[in-house]
């Protein structure tokens, strides 16, 4: 049977990398003795995959993993067995089945909604931010030039991938929905870089702001 699980990555464990998270899951299903199907080949691996990568330092309320089990089990039992084996900070909140024939979750991921805590000091700055935000969203193009990890210079138009961006005054957070599909992947930090440029605040430590994924959106109403 094909199943998915939705889990949180709480702030205290947000430094776990994507690769480490895969290992966490492999070990958790071993401890839970879930009958996960194994891949063929010389080095068989359990058939499971995370829907999308979450950058190191980002916490989340909406991480998904899918896996294939070799036997049918009640979802309730699965949840019970695996929940007690997860490390603290990675609670499972939902288990469900997936249609046998549907595409991998990985290829269905479309967008992410982030909650961003910014280093703002006073109401002046908040107002500045709001007007910068409005101005940005009115643009047809938002081109960012940056160097990737290999040092290659990249020029990317972020605008088509920015789906929503709004300031939530009550919680003093920025809500940002961006495309995070295999076709177009927008790093929230890149949006913040442009926002900081617009505000004349190039000193913003965009890599250190508090980032939290609130929801992950899939194509085809798959959640």
């Amino acid at each position: 049977m094909r199943i998915f699980m939705k889990f949180h990555k709480n702030p205290e464990v947000r430094w776990i990398s994507h690769l480490d998270l895969i290992k966490v899951w492999e070990r958790a299903v071993r401890r839970a003795r879930l009958p996960v199907a194994l891949s063929q080949g010389f080095n068989p691996r359990p058939k499971m995959s995370l829907a999308t990568a979450l950058a190191v330092g980002v916490s989340s309320d909406a991480e998904y993993i899918e896996m294939e089990l070799t036997e049918e089990l009640p979802l309730k039992d699965i949840l019970q067995r695996i929940s007690s084996q997860m490390p603290s900070g990675l609670p499972i909140i939902e288990v469900g089945t997936l249609p046998e024939k549907s595409l991998a979750l990985m290829s269905l991921v479309f967008a992410s909604l982030y909650r961003i805590t910014l280093p703002l000091h006073d109401t002046n700055e908040t107002e500045e931010l709001q007007s910068a935000l409005t101005a940005l969203l009115a643009e047809k193009q938002l081109v960012l030039n940056y160097h990737n990890r290999e040092g290659k210079s990249i020029s990317q138009d972020l605008r088509p991938g920015i789906l929503e961006a709004s300031w939530n005054a009550e919680q003093a957070v920025l809500l940002l929905k961006v495309e995070t599909s295999s076709r177009l992947f927008i790093r929230p930090q890149h949006f913040l870089t442009i926002l900081a440029q617009k505000m004349g605040r190039s000193d913003w430590p965009v890599e250190e702001v508090g980032l939290h994924r609130l929801e992950l959106f899939m194509k085809n109403k798959m959640k």
């Binding site: 205290e12 464990v13 430094w15 776990i16 990398s17 480490d20 966490v24 492999e26 070990r27 958790a28 299903v29 071993r30 401890r31 194994l38 010389f42 080095n43 068989p44 190191v56 330092g57 084996q85 490390p87 603290s88 900070g89 890599e207 250190e208 702001v209 508090g210």
Partner: protein
């Protein structure tokens, strides 16, 4: 330094997961729920420290006591140290994120000499006065243990108390002593240390005074208080089945060196390699029973979810029940795809067969350690391996499907000549020829790794000087010049690093100021080639008025007092001298497990004996 680091700043350092904690099976006790707590420092980076079995054992032993807690701390990587200093934040433990000076104890394990500067970093960022003499009743008591305890003299200025030998029984006793004193009122450091000194295996270095002659050479040590005995005897657990072993392990995030379950087959080794310090510090051989090991393997695999288990000891192939153990592990766990790792192979075809058995799937490289190229030199170091055995092992590996082989050798061994070195390459050539003769398909690769011999205290070679640094480099160059075959690759160790290791191995208390000065100048992670700064060390030696070669290269008289003489391994000096003479004549000494007792002295002196696992049906 009281405000804890804002953890958002971890985004600016490499591998922030090293400082995060929160791992599965970590024991986090509310600080107010225990009577005594100890921060335990491994003075290297998390990835290395978390791979160390001894620390895992002590973590389990202490945290099993309901009135005590142990929390972990590791040396901060230079980028993290810089961040802590910039922010004025203290180094904290991983469990409760507490600064180190809030613990009554700081434990530190001394695994190798080139971590001493990291120890100072940990003390300093932990808010603990560097010098033991400067610590007051409210500062932590700094306890050290591990193999390095047997010559801790170069750093005793920074330690309050050192334990010798097996730690699982003495550490709870030391914590219990503190607990008892604390119940009577605030603990006075001096009083605690005086009472601790009465326990076997405890060395309170400040209760001893070292003397030196007019040229600064060590001539002896005297006790300053009646509680401080000479020699300090070590602790030996005779039956390892009776002491606690972890039932679970902290499962780290991030990549660490050895990320797998571990069972310790036995402690001690009586193979008798004359260069080997571990072979002298942990005698006699004490094997765990097969049932105990299988039970421990089951508990660890179930509670960690690891897919690999490593069989740890100084020479795992020598475990009496090794075949039965491997058969049982494979039988029980193969269908769950759990691999068995054998970290130390013996150089013979039996070992290769077992390695083949456990590696049915992954044919990773195979490592053998002949240690010396010529038969004569192997006899000098008592390696007790013939060339035929080496060739049989290599041939067996090729037949089993390996095409990549790694061979370990040492350079600079006593009496070594260029002819001995040439035989290292010649041996590799013979192995290569063997492979080609078999007309196998895979591409042959023979990696020769040559480290530099470091004379270690508590070995038969302790009196011998290391060859000078230029000579190390010349011999390395000479070896390289002999390479003709592209299938053979040679790697050597940094010469300056080996010299520093020799200096501190055979060092005395004069060296404390050199460590401090080098650290002040910026020396960190000296065992890591990317951080090792020989220039800073040279400057530190000059400023301290100490000639490093007077430690590393000095030939010491058999009659001279040694700075570690008062730290008792149990082996008599006469035995070491006798072994030295046998080495000179290239005469072997058998392993006392199977051959005659060579009268090293440990068993009668401590009332212990070799203990072998019995066959189980």
């Amino acid at each position: 330094m009281t405000k804890i680091l804002d953890d958002a700043l971890l985004a600016t350092v490499s591998k922030p997961v090293r400082y995060m904690g929160q791992e599965l099976n970590a024991v986090v006790k509310p600080p107010e729920s225990v009577e005594v707590s100890i921060a335990f420092a491994f003075p290297d980076v998390y990835d290395v420290g978390m791979s160390h079995l001894g620390s895992k054992i002590l973590y389990h032993v202490v945290n099993s006591l309901e009135w005590a807690a142990m929390e972990r701390v590791f040396a901060p990587w230079p980028d993290y140290e810089a961040l802590l200093r910039k922010e004025g934040a203290p180094l904290t433990t991983l469990e409760n994120h507490l600064p180190l000076n809030q613990f009554p104890f700081l434990g530190v394990t001394l695994q190798y000499e080139l971590t001493y500067t990291n120890l100072l970093t940990i003390l300093d960022l932990g808010g603990i006065p560097l010098l033991a003499a400067d610590r007051g009743d409210n500062d932590p008591i700094v306890i050290a243990g591990g193999p390095g305890a047997f010559n801790c003299e170069p750093i005793t200025d920074y330690l309050d108390l050192i334990t010798l030998g097996d730690g699982e029984e003495i550490l709870p006793k030391l914590l219990e002593l503190y607990r008892q004193l604390k119940r009577k009122g605030p603990v006075v450091r001096k009083e605690y240390l005086l009472q601790a000194a009465l326990l076997q295996g405890v060395y309170v270095s400040s209760f001893y005074e070292a003397s030196y002659n007019e040229v600064g050479e060590f001539i002896g040590i005297t006790s300053l208080v009646p509680e401080a005995v000479i020699p300090v005897r070590r602790n030996i657990v005779q039956n390892l089945d009776t002491v606690p072993y972890p039932e679970t392990l902290v499962v780290p995030y991030g990549e660490i060196i050895h990320d797998r379950a571990m069972i310790e087959l036995f402690r001690g080794c009586t193979a008798g390699c004359r260069f080997c310090q571990a072979g002298c510090l942990y005698r006699p051989v004490r094997e765990r029973s097969l049932q105990t090991l299988l039970k421990q393997a089951e508990l660890l695999l179930r509670s960690t979810g690891y897919d690999e288990i490593s069989l740890i000891s100084l020479s795992s192939m020598d475990y009496t029940q090794i075949e039965a153990l491997i058969d049982q592990l494979l039988k029980r766990y193969r269908k769950e795809c759990v691999g068995v790792a054998l970290p130390s192979l013996r150089v013979d075809s039996f070992s290769v067969q077992l390695a083949d058995k456990v590696q049915q799937v992954r044919k990773s490289g195979l490592t053998l350690a002949p240690e010396a190229g010529s038969q004569r030199l192997r006899d000098v170091i008592n390696k007790r391996v013939s060339e035929q055995q080496i060739l049989d092992a290599a041939g067996g590996a090729f037949d089993a499907g390996w095409s990549s082989l790694k061979l370990y050798f040492m350079l600079g061994l006593p009496s070594e000549t260029d002819e001995d070195l040439a035989e290292i390459i010649a041996l590799a050539q013979k192995i290569a020829a063997l492979y080609r003769q078999k007309k196998r398909r895979g591409k042959l690769h023979i990696g020769i790794s040559v480290s530099t011999f470091v004379p270690k205290p508590h070995t038969s070679f302790q009196w011998m000087g290391q060859i000078p640094v230029e000579e190390i480099k010349r011999r390395q160059y000479y070896l390289r010049s002999l390479l003709r075959d592209r299938a053979i690759e040679l790697s050597t160790h940094d010469a300056e690093t080996s010299v520093l290791e020799a200096v501190f191995s055979r060092g005395d208390r004069h060296l404390a100021k050199v460590v401090l000065r080098a650290w002040q100048l910026g020396a960190r992670f000296d065992g890591w080639s990317e951080y090792f700064r020989p220039d800073l060390w040279r400057q530190a030696f000059i400023e301290s008025g100490i000639v490093p070669e007077s430690y590393s290269e000095r030939e010491i008289d058999f009659s001279a007092a040694l700075p570690w003489d008062h730290l008792d391994s149990g082996i008599s000096k006469d035995w070491f001298i006798n072994q030295w003479h046998l080495a000179e004549q290239a005469i072997e000494t058998p392993d006392c497990r199977s051959g005659d007792c060579s009268m090293c002295g440990v068993c009668p002196s401590y009332g212990v004996e070799n203990l072998m696992a019995k066959e189980v049906r």
